[in-house]
Amino acid sequence: MENSVLVRDLVKRFGSFTAVDRVSFETQPGEVFGFLGPNGSGKSTTIRILCGLLHPTSGHAEVAGLDVTRSAELIRRRIGYMSQKFSLYNDLTVIENLRFYGGLYDVVGRQLEDRIEWALTMAGLVGRENSLTATLSGGWKQRLALGCAVLHRPPIIFLDEPTSGVDPVSRRRFWELIQELSADGVTVFVTTHYMDEAEYCNRLALIYRGRLVALGTPTELKRGSVNGELLMIEASPLGRALEVVKTVEGVRDAAVFGNALHLVVADGDAAMKAVRAAMDSDGIQVRRLDRIRPSLEDAFVALTSGDREKNGAVAA
């Protein structure tokens, strides 16, 4: 398929460190495919392998129907890539950056002018063509980088944490642009560590410590991941409350979420009573105790809890 990505048992090791550990997935044409995970979980490494910037240690990966190790150059013509760090030329003007990438992608003449006009409008940079890129704010820079990456109308684009360090309004706008591209049939492969952004994706791969822990639509992940019902409790002191709830019968998992605890329980009604009783007997003040619908963050915590306990990490 011209606009699909297929990955089978992909492994990338740097010395003794395994950055990507037997990851498999495939994208569907025209979807927004999210790669969600904390920093250092192997998201950027995977995206770099798919763009031909790193060679995989083992496994198989295809982009646009082409093998990444054998046909990297052919793949580069069919993709757009936005690296994690802003990587346009700060000492070039907006229009110079666009013309430069237009030249590299061999987009010329009337077509280039049309695409540049489109990119300027999309990025909201009309009238600032001759500003030095260094003087632009974060949101503008990101949109300009996106414009440069899609000048040649690639069927697949790879965006590595495109919105990190950008203000919320610009982030929202950026995601609207991603949706527009997707509506035009472009497959968008995007990494993020923002849970709220992940909701914009058609499908999500949760990646943790190099391993793919779950794959599905945001709704599927939220529903399927939590084994039981979800309770939220606001109490103080929170640390003591966490210790106490873990001893309560029927509580399968507990983790801190902001200034509250989220509990996975077998039976909501029974657990609420038991938890309140345990809190009272320990003298812990409970401000709020409710049943809630799981968020992606809950799903993520639930799906990675096995790993975290093995490594002695505290859920946070």
């Binding site: 990587s87 346009l88 030329y89 700060n90 000492d91 070039l92 013309r99 061999d106």
Partner: protein, 376 residues
Amino acid sequence: MKLNRLIAITRKEIVQIWRDPRSLLIVFLMPAMLMALMGYGISLDQKNVPTCVFDREGSQQSQDLLKQFQASPYFRIAMVSGDYASLVQAINDGKCSLGLVIPNDFAEQLHKGGTVDVQGIVDATDDNTANLIFGYADAMIAGYSADVQLEYFQSRGHTTVNPPVSVQARTWFNEDLDSSNFIVPGVVVIVMAVIGTFLTSLTVAREWERGTMEQLISTPVTPLEVTVGKLIPYFVLGLVDTAFCEAIAVLWFQVPFRGGIAMMVVASALFLAVVLLLGYWISAATKSQLAASQFSLVLTFLPAFLLSGFAFPIDQMPVAVQAITYLTPARYYLSLVKIIFLKGPGLGPLIPQLFALALFATIIGRMALRSFRKTL
């Protein structure tokens, strides 16, 4: 190779050079400074050697001899001392490089037709300079001796006396034996080697350090396009720079330029290709601007200075060192530049050097291309 991509890279590089005044400073200010520093600072001629004289006799004859020293451009009587100790002191203090002691029977011995010894004391802390001073002093005294002999024979009725054998030396190519004619073209070579390599040594490393390389190599651009595209502006700058340095040599240092300009352009273009590619290779291999600039200085300045034949004649080096000089591109360019500057037209003697430079450009170019990888 796609022309559009090549043009895109070249145009981008030109804009970046233009916006970064430091690179233009390197191109024009640094050569001018190096030329001035080395052109004036390095001179193999000894002129106005400060001389201290102790004339024990103070006769007409002894004063005649000293007047000849005084009149010569090579010596300057800096001090006339009344005793031996103060002459020694003057040399010890470095105030004088040469001490002349004329004995108190100087005139008497000359009258008798005997031989008289004049003592010369040379400060030999720098042996090269000492040799030169000694040679000049020897020649002065020999000239004076010949005059004395001539007078002696004339006074006995001989009309003319000719020395039995004499050398009629003609110095070719550097008629005035002016060492700046020899040094300044060499300085041009060193300056071009250093600047050429330095210019390109930053170009790839900078992109790695700023993160722009990751975006660049994710596009279909080929290593050849990046390399050629990036080198074109530096090549043009380098040629302008060579012309600039050579103009300084001819117009300011008055070095004669006897060869053809076209030949100089060809030779300089080849040498520039070598040094620019070397800088580019270093840059692509180190990926760090600091490391690249240091490497390029060490790899160009020292060989160009020490091994090219600039500071030391190659045929007087130990055989092992001579072998190393063949790996120094500056050696070939220096030889070309000297021939073109001082000897003049004629392609024949230039061909081996031109060939050597072309070979270096090809090999280093291949290494540079190989070291530029489109992976992180």
